[in-house]
Symmetry: C2
Subunit: 225 residues, 2 copies
DNA sequence: AGGGAGAGTGTCCCCATGACACAAACTCTA
DNA sequence: TAGAGTTTGTGTCATGGGGACACTCTCCCT
């Protein structure tokens, strides 16, 4: 039914998406940023993002921007819209409304190269980011809060890890996201009580005592909401 | 700095707001709906909403639609954006993305008259709405869930009541929103423990034993988030 | 004066969470 | 190969919040 048309006031506002994409690296929560190659805010760091195209769903636009601006290696394990920023004056080019997304990239996706119109892309400490273009500092802030909520609600921490992992690794993800240390015994008690983890039987050897490997029980994948 | 201009692909998508406005009436949670006067979905019931205008913040657009389409008596006590709906095909007129808002109207705002392009406006049981236009049934669903979450997080129930109210009235609001009965003693215990209520000293007489009147302690207004 | 209607009140149990210290298993090096 | 170093793994107690549960109190109405 494309016979009806949009009223004239329907096309006056620019619609964009921005993506706060997170991954773990060196025991730290990192966020993926791009260095802008164009005005405004040329050479400033910003969240990857851009305008939504016709015939493109919001999450598709988010994925496309992530791919063309950063050349990430793997698919995001989680992608979720979390807030729409529409303040007047947030973009000097005019009225632009941005639907902000939160993405989680799995372990191993830490190498990025700039692409698209950007000068480059890199990972930064999510809790101590550099100065950001536009209102992206606010967006990042809100993204981290959402990530923290999702930690205890869904078990989004698992998306940061490979299929099989140890409990200390999982605890490390939680600590990196919450930006505070957790008690080992309480953490294990709580996580194992949830019943989403099952020991794989194997162990991982390293420097100290080998750690039990776990995997998620089937049918416990986070609904991408 | 309006010297920079939008890239061409920035204006291809229509941006709208929709508002799920709730109030209490006869002990029931009700949602404000309008009967559409135009195609598509003419004569169907829908959430009040429409296109965002240039120079208009998202929440301003939501307020404007509420006022022009429904002529509500009072200002909303709470207005919050909760999700942005952008599925392809959600509107037969083309690509329209809608930022959905949740509004709470205070006690006494139950009389509405249709305005704007609509045939009328009326309150409906929020948990048993009529068939709705577009994807508004989904939007309403999500709005109710958000309202329920805000009940225990912020104390949004107070926004449905006048400045002074009784505990049974407050419990009624909670029950209407959650759509299930609550235990009287546990409810009082929990609410009073939060420390946001203070007895006003007066009582309200009615059919049975008079009820203590309460008001919120100062400085406990919900941040409109 | 008695009945009806709604308001008000306290205890117990259970579960989830947080604080807290030591033993076990492996690697590495001397 | 023995000992030091390093990391994993484990249990108890105290506390607090939430849910189940029944009877009295106060007023109005007839």
């Amino acid at each position: 039914m494309g016979t009806l048309s949009l009223p004239p006031q329907a096309t006056q506002v620019g619609l964009a998406v921005d993506v706060a994409a997170f991954a773990m690296h060196a025991g730290e929560l990192r966020v993926l940023l791009v260095q802008r190659g164009e005005l405004p805010h040329a050479r400033d760091w910003a969240l990857p993002g851009g305008f939504v195209q016709v015939g493109e769903a919001l999450h598709e636009a988010a994925l496309r921007e992530l791919r063309t601006e950063t050349t990430v290696e793997l698919e995001p394990r989680h992608l979720e819209q979390f807030y729409t920023f529409g303040e007047l004056g947030r973009d000097p080019r005019g009225r632009i409304v941005s639907v902000a997304h939160l993405a989680v990239l799995p372990h191993g996706t830490v190498h990025v190269t700039g692409g698209g119109h950007t000068l480059g892309a890199a990972w930064f400490p999510a809790h101590r980011p550099p100065a950001l273009a536009f209102d992206h500092a606010q967006i990042l802030d809100r993204a981290i809060k959402r990530l923290q909520v999702r930690l205890e609600y869904a078990n989004l921490a698992l998306e940061f890890l490979p299929d099989t992992f140890t409990l200390p690794e999982l605890q490390g993800v939680h600590e990196a996201i919450l930006d505070r240390p957790l008690d080992k015994r309480n953490f294990r008690k709580r996580l194992l009580a949830q019943g989403v983890l099952v020991p794989s039987g194997e162990r991982r050897s390293g420097v100290g005592r080998p750690a039990q490997l776990y995997r998620r029980t089937k049918g416990t994948r986070t609904a991408a909401l």
